[in-house]
Symmetry: C2
Subunit: 453 residues, 2 copies
């Protein structure tokens, strides 16, 4: 007899959790549709040749690999086996792996289906991904990503739309957020201006930590990376840039005027702000030069969303990239995308208690079961309620009232309906509101209407 368990880092989702998760996914999905995004899905398994080398050496190790079916040792290299050459053996006994993110499968999808797609392609995808990471609080081996991307267009309108869409999503959730924005070209411009263009990665990694470790430690880290004191000095006014977005842009225009790439970034940012202002936003939008994100991937605007009322990492992020599909033989596909972190949004909504009260996923009415005869009496009413779109159940067995009531309680059922011998004789239903405890006697001919407002 086994004591059952699930693999570490994975989760079961109970009905209560599913209700919340469906609320999150449904909300995001409906906003995606509103903005013209179309859903796709890709298989959980991809060929390892599709996945390998896309996430760095560390990422390759974190891929879950699937053992070949049948004789997986057939044709294996005996030397590799003898020498325990694990990485070479792995690719001989495993051809497939579980997807690690939604971006690489999306790139593969675009290339495979290029002739069926009408570009610009506005796609979204909400599916689980798997990473063999060490599990810890808030980090799972299976988790969902919600990605929306527009590929095949380098218009800045796309950035504007993604920002507006993000604003709309959080407005619907009722979560107050600050959308932070930066531009990779501005960061490149800054590195150029201070004479350390080739140290761009070190610089951005360091200033990205400003919030956490403070200015002094950032400067120490920059020095440790071999950045000249004069360059660090020049960097100070930029790191500490304050004021409104427009004020920041003015200062950057002055500081970066001799860097072509830097000025391109500043003008992109300015245009995005101009367009956003036409209809305005619900959320704060803040230019933040310390925002870095995966630099090797992004090439233009980058975004991150911070919840204002909860202490938690970024709950959404994204940006512009230049060469999504090049690695699969289709160069020149630029795009911009955004990814919503469902698990963190779940935590924020829980902490702020922002889930909507009513739910189409809950049972509204439970009929108490008193036995055969009463069942038959109830059946047409149960049928009619459901026909009117009211989620309803009858307890399947005529067990003690107390047990049936506690079932209703445990399942958060709003109303319990009692139709025993007495009620049937009196041609009424006794309706108990489980929240207020109130009981009400309703004539049979008014019963259906009672629940159909």
């Amino acid at each position: 007899m086994q004591k059952p368990a699930i693999p570490k880092g994975t989760r079961d989702f109970s009905p209560e959790e599913m209700e919340k998760r469906n609320y999150i996914f449904d909300t995001i999905r409906s906003v995606f549709y509103l903005y013209g995004f179309k859903q796709i899905e890709t298989p959980a398994m991809e060929n390892l040749s599709t996945l390998m080398g896309k996430y760095g050496e560390e990422g390759d190790k974190l891929l879950f690999k699937i053992l070949n079916s049948g004789d997986f040792l057939k044709g294996i290299n005996e030397d590799d086996l003898e020498n325990r050459n694990l990485s070479r053996l792995t690719y001989q006994i495993c051809e497939k792996g579980l997807r690690y993110d939604l971006t690489v499968p999306f790139a593969r999808f675009v290339v495979m289906h290029r002739n069926e797609i009408s570009f610009p392609f506005r796609r979204f995808q909400i599916q689980p991904v798997w990473r063999a990471d060490r599990p810890q609080k808030g980090r799972y081996r299976e988790f969902f990503q919600c990605d929306a991307d527009i590929v095949g267009s380098d218009s800045l309108l796309n950035e504007v739309e993604l920002i507006q869409m993000t604003d709309e999503v959080y407005k619907r959730f009722g979560i107050r957020v600050c959308i932070k924005m930066n531009n990779r070209k501005i960061l490149s411009g800054i590195a150029e201006i201070i004479g350390e263009a080739e140290k761009i990665v070190d610089i951005t990694v360091a200033i990205d930590k400003l919030d956490k470790i403070g200015l002094e430690n950032v400067n120490a880290e920059l020095a440790a990376k071999g950045i000249a004191d004069s360059a660090i000095a020049k960097l100070q006014p930029i790191i500490l840039l304050k004021g409104s977005n427009r004020e920041k842009l003015q200062i950057l225009k002055r500081e970066l005027h001799s860097s072509e790439i830097g000025m391109t970034g500043v003008l992109e940012m300015e245009k995005i702000l101009d367009k956003i202002e036409i209809v305005g936003m619900n959320s704060e939008l803040e230019m933040d030069l310390t925002l870095a994100r995966g630099l090797n991937y992004y090439t233009g605007a980058i975004f991150e969303v911070k919840a204002l009322d909860v202490q938690i990492g970024s709950i959404t992020g994204g940006g512009r990239y230049d060469n999504l599909t090049g690695v699969f033989g289709m160069p020149g596909v630029s795009g911009v995308g955004i990814s919503f972190g469902a698990d963190r949004i779940f935590d924020v909504l829980n902490q702020l208690n922002l889930y909507p009260a009513g739910s189409a996923q809950k049972t509204k009415v439970l009929f108490v079961n008193f036995g055969e005869k009463e069942e038959d009496h109830i059946f047409p009413y149960l049928y009619q309620l459901r026909k009117n779109g009211v989620n309803a159940e009858i307890f399947p067995e005529a067990v003690k009232m107390k047990k049936q009531m506690s079932y209703a309680d445990a399942n958060n059922i709003a109303f319990v309906v009692i139709a025993g011998e007495t009620e049937i004789q009196e041609k009424v239903f006794l309706i108990k509101n489980m929240k207020t405890g109130e009981q009400q006697s309703i004539p049979q001919n008014k019963f259906i209407d009672y629940f159909s407002e």
Copy 2:
């Protein structure tokens, strides 16, 4: 440069396919809610110890196994390696596998969460499963199952509810179906009566083929399995049972009166029919004694759904089982469940062209992009449309009109809106209905209302 591909037996789903699949899943889900079912999800990966031995020897081979992370050869048995003992090696290098169905993970879930669940537990689950089967037409290595089960109650009301729910699902799809029903206890009774109780599996396997191979071949197969001629003769009136459900029940009552288990089955069937008749059904409901299904698993009522207007295997199936969780140390949990075959329903809806015309998943309005100035003019209208719940887009670049129109065509967008210099001056929008080709000029102040009926 790689030419990208996906593993055989797996599929990408395009936006058009996703729209149809979402329609299928949303329809089923909303009926599940109506009947009080609650959704759960379980992880894609389960411990192999949870999965192994649950699907027979063949099933064990069809499990996708996941290579352990890190040094998967550490502590491996050298003899097993030398002797190429594949099955022993597999469990040394793989601890986890992908789920093969939703039933075993559900049983594991019930046992693990027994203290949080209020029984009877009405759960549904819609998730992909994976099988390393040889791919062929209509058979995939990744496919979705939609299961609904009621566990912790042996009331026949549960069977009745599942039949009514199935009826409602197909009514909503507009698919005409026959719900076939049988009962394992009746089959046992028949085997008992003809004096071949221990040959029940052979008998049911044979008569299950009646439709395909005809009576003569069924009888030949029975004889080949060593069933006595006299027993085969006794079986004939039962195999060939005709008439209404009530007539069949009358005959079975006569034929099976000396079999206790047989009579129990007959009375169960009768009670289910009684309850169903109270409110009636949209679909046909037919008692079919040749219906067998996985006998080792089911113990009472069994169901199968056949589409009437399309040649295809069963599109839904299920039944009563007695010991779901025994293997995980929790005996006595009876249940009854039903599983909808999403892929086959997809095919049936396609063949009968039954998908609804309008869809909340499509873009309704595309604004043509003429450049900066026109963009800024359009922005507030685009914003307002979306605010009113109309899915809308602006083409992100001011490319040739023809390209923008063909984008609208390819994406099945219903209306294209033109607001160039002239229209702006005349304070109108030109609206083109992409289906009819009609064009209409609408004053700016009536534009939002036009799309908001």
